[in-house]
Symmetry: C3
Subunit: 201 residues, 3 copies
């Protein structure tokens, strides 16, 4: 199993935690609802990317470990619920690692499909953020990409850096670290300094 596989599994656990926590904080949610939202958050972005690319079979449909990873994420979330709520910044860091990982993996996968780099960057960003967008739509919240701090734009920046370094044949592991690191850095700086994209008007 390549290292990338374990990254995908870890990203899935992290996203399931983040989705289940978002649902769990809504009053009146039952265990099924919390698990369902964790599930959608974890597999939504990657599934949409693969359905747009026509890349079948979808990863989680072909490998039940992704389902187990989601269930693990929901259980972990319940066990550490109090701590997770207290250390919201930590959780936000989990989500940040998740979007960094999924952006780069998604961009690379799209590129392997032979699409134009501009489209690959969009696919990478979609992989990272669309699970959260579906989660927010289902729970009637404002989609995460429309909220204040820089979010999807950080993913786009990381995807573009990955594509540039890839073009210059930078070693893959190195590229993963630098491009993913850029996303994480931008997100952390954006949250601490309240950076945001210029308002439209």
């Amino acid at each position: 199993m390549p290292i990338q596989y374990y990254f995908e599994i870890i990203g899935t656990v992290v996203f399931a935690i983040s989705g289940a926590l978002a649902a769990g904080e809504k009053s009146g949610q039952d265990w099924f609802g919390v698990t369902f939202v964790g599930f959608i958050t974890a597999i939504g972005g990657g599934s949409l990317r693969d359905m747009l690319l026509g890349s079948y079979p979808l990863v989680w449909i072909n490998d039940v470990n992704f389902i187990y990873a989601i269930i693990l994420g929901v259980v972990l979330m319940r066990l550490f619920y109090a701590s997770l709520q207290r250390y919201r910044r930590t959780l936000s860091l989990f989500d940040t690692m998740g979007i960094a990982l999924f952006t780069i993996l998604g961009t690379e996968k799209a590129l392997e499909f032979g699409v134009h780099p501009v489209v690959a960057a969009i696919m990478g960003m979609f992989s990272a953020v669309m699970g959260g967008v579906i989660r927010d739509t289902l729970t009637n919240s404002t989609p995460v990409i429309f909220r204040k701090e820089i979010y999807a734009t950080a993913c786009l920046a990381g995807a573009i850096l990955f594509l540039i370094l890839n073009y210059f044949d930078v070693h893959r592991t190195f590229n993963f670290l630098i491009s993913g690191g850029l996303i994480i850095t931008i997100r952390i700086l954006a949250v601490y300094n309240r950076w945001s994209i210029p308002k439209f008007k």
Copy 2:
């Protein structure tokens, strides 16, 4: 034509009735909106399942009878609108039969695709409930799966029973009746006794 085909058509009519009725009760809906919502409710879950599985062509795109079944459902709903509103429990029974039917048919279809039984159960549940979820998202209601009584969980239970009996080579028709019957029984008991899944917190 196998008996399963007629079941699918009946399930489509029933779901179109249930979707059109939900839309028709919102004030100000016109005939197009009511028909559109009936359509989405009827084909949404199965279409999502098939797009996730990569099972092309989609059933209703390849067979116009499903469109006619939906139009029939909307017309029936209008003709019996007063009665349907009076006997809400009857309609709920229609919806219950629809989800029982679609869960088992969807689980079996996913299994034939060679997916892991856990994934097949999820696909069966998706077939049954995701049309309603899309309907509720479009009409700005709380998605049916997040509401009080046991709903999607009943589908999961029926799907799991179907998979177990299927594993032990129980005869298909017999399995359909028992597993579908379990879903209907759980739903009826849940509605009458206000059973619900434990709250998350």
Copy 3:
């Protein structure tokens, strides 16, 4: 390049303008949000149609010019924002041309896929309106197809006329003009005369 290609590009620009404008009028939207909504509006309907048909690769994934067309639409929207807001009827005319174009192109594409004409008409209508439906769902507005004036029904009427004329071997360009013209005419008359579909009750 056939003339149809330029029509698709123009329709994409027009839809991106219409989507970005809708998002830009919501207070607090940033540049990313406006561009994202323009993007979804422009490619949503056609992508859904192609994913339902299993028609891969999707048009915009295979041809980066569609991405550039969307960016052009967003930039044009910003440059002419004041004028576009003043002449709302003009913009509505842009949107009308967009849905006319996409309905006919979508109906024809579905027909080439060998689907039943009834399904082709639905696919044509989906191509035209579903981008707007996704846009409205993401921005928590009432989906455009549920609003007052005749909208999706005009698309259906145009698609049906296209199918009838196509059946009688009317020349394609001629058919495009007549069927698309019908959609534009119905929409303009509906807006000016406040025509609407009969209420359901």
